[in-house]
Amino acid sequence: MATSKAALLLQARGVTKSFGDLEILKGIDLDVRQGQVVALIGASGSGKTTFLRCINLLEEYERGEIRLDGEQIGYRVESRERRRLSEAQVSAQRARIGMVFQSFNLFPHMSAEQNVMLGLTKVRGKPKVEAQEIARHWLDRVGLADRRDHYPYQLSGGQQQRVAIARAVAMEPRLLLFDEVTSALDPELVAEVLAVMQDLARSGMTMLLVSHEMLFVRQVADHVVFMDGGVVAQAGAPAEVFERPATPRLRQFLGRFHGILTGAG
Amino acid sequence: MLNYNFNWSVIWRNWDAFLDALLLGLGMAVLSLLVGCIIGLLVAYARLAQNRVLQWAAWAYVELIRNTPLLLLVFMCYFGLPELGIRFLDKVESFVLTLSLYAGAYMAEVFRAGLSSIPRQYVEAAKAIGMRPWQRQRWVVLPVMFRITLPSLSNNLISLFKDTSLAAAIAVPELTFTARQVNANTFRVMEAWLTATALYLVTCYAIALALRAVERRYASIR
């Protein structure tokens, strides 16, 4: 587990975002240190996913800033005006942040191996042979060595999601984002995906995840952030957040998972 | 090279001819759509019927018409039918017959899709209250299908109106024929064709707007 002395990797300050009149994020501050696993929890509509998507600029946000390794993501400030970076610059930054989606989003016209190789060859500029080697390594690591030539429609949901994780992690990102990656899966397929994520966490990958798998969050995360109504309502070590909820809202939210969490001890 | 002096007086002098032509085209399109809808409905029911022969005949009709150029159908009807002893059709009637048969094939596909997309529960609910087969069709299936297919109906009317331009090939005095006449008689090429183009565009747009209003009226019922 990463200590609080590890280098600061991601730093978000005062991020606000609205859809029309609806303010989804009302000033989010968040730090993620190198090697940390940070979990965002909260009711649906609390802004977790939106915030996650702001980090690699799938959503634009109005105010605040997000820094990765000290470099501002997505925008530059020029004589007090915020300008969006060019397509090439944004893409280069995105390549340093991996993302795994709820709905897998594998490219349906490519095999598992080709899905993993695409970013390696086209973004990282690796030769095909090397990219293939890396792809095979990661597909092996997520337990799909024998499925590398299969197309997404030939794979189960859990297998597709593991390919998606391999696709993201093969790019050697500084930070991996997981957006409710088990929510679209049949219950019996959830475990295989969580096992892969736990393996990645142990190997020191820095991860920021939005999840409703409270048991998993409690066991794997170093830091838990409870979001409510577009702000961070409470943050701290899992034990602290789960054992000593500071607000009635958090208590109410955790109450829904009561059986699972007490069972975990 | 590109110095052309417009002289629109030719158009004003022939304005009545243009308007008559436009109305003739619209009339032929609407009539063909109506007859086409009747043909299309019968063919659609035939395609969904239990009887294999009926199914096959309906399929053949649709494929034959849709894969043959309309101009060829127009000629077959206009020059071919008299060979078979059918001589009482004039140019306009012959063209409307062709366009109706043509519209029938396209409407058959529209109606078939519409009929198959009606939720079974509607029919079952109608059965449950004791409606007879024809009553179920008349009061449940057809009204629902009408609303589902309304947008394609308006697209088809616009297509048919544009297709009436082919009547020019057998000298029916519709818009295209009239423009060509004015062009040939006065040598005002740009004026004649720009007028025809504008009239077609405005009419297509007006049909689209009018039918969208009708759609909106029925859209609430789903």
């Binding site: 989606f101 | 150029p69 101009l71 159908l73 071919g80 544009k162 077609y200």
Partner: protein, 221 residues
């Protein structure tokens, strides 16, 4: 074979019919090639273009779809001659047909791209692909599979529309049959013969389109 029978007359007219068939084929292929290339460009512009550009293309597409092809063909035929642009009727016809079909293909392409799930673009962004790379490796390959069946329909429409070139005197397949009829008065036989030939071409195209549609039906996103 006896003089006056259908087969005999087909044999007599064989070279003219074959040449007509060739003209129909070349007009179709040329129109399809031009319309597909420019339609693809306009379709991408219609989806991703800078706003004023998108409006311009939208006006073009909607206008062209509101004018009968025959009017376009006649306009091109008489209009180009007026400006002393010396093009043979064949090319005037192909230009008009292509201008019309471009609008249809552009609209099909836009629909195909917009029907793709947003997640595909997002996944491509997330691994750091730039706009042109997303287009080349993800959007176009996927949209192609969606657009192929309606594109095949447009191809069949184009083949049928080449008959309109006969009206400006291009001796394509329909006109070559009519010329045969003018000599031998076998009206029904030759029109039926022409219908069967068009039917075979278009039925083949539409069956191919249906086959492609089934082939990509299993795609999950």
């Amino acid at each position: 074979m006896e003089r006056g029978t259908f087969l005999y007359e087909v044999w007599v007219a064989r070279w003219s019919l074959l040449s007509g068939f060739g003209i129909t084929l070349s007009a179709s292929v040329l129109t399809i090639a031009i319309a597909t290339l420019l339609g693809l460009i306009l379709g991408i512009g219609l989806t991703y273009g800078w706003r004023p550009l998108r409006w311009l293309i939208r006006i073009y597409v909607d206008a062209l779809r509101g004018i009968p092809v025959l009017v376009l063909i006649l306009f091109a035929y008489y209009g180009l001659a007026l400006f002393k642009i010396n093009v043979p009727p064949f090319w005037a016809g192909v230009i008009a047909l292509a201008a019309f079909s471009i609008a249809h293909i552009a609209e099909t392409i836009r629909g195909g791209i917009e029907s793709l799930p947003q997640g595909q673009t997002e996944a491509a962004k997330a691994i750091g692909l730039q706009f042109h790379q997303r287009l080349a490796y993800v959007i176009i390959p996927l949209a192609t599979r969606r657009v192929l069946p309606p594109w095949m329909n447009t191809c069949a429409e184009i083949v049928k529309n080449t008959t309109l070139l006969s009206i400006i005197g291009v001796v394509e397949f329909l006109l070559s049959n009519q010329q045969a009829i003018a000599r031998n008065y076998l009206v029904l036989q030759f029109y039926l013969f022409a219908a069967v030939v068009y039917l075979l071409i278009n039925f083949t195209i539409s069956q191919l389109g249906a086959k492609l549609e089934r082939r990509y039906a299993h795609f999950r996103y």
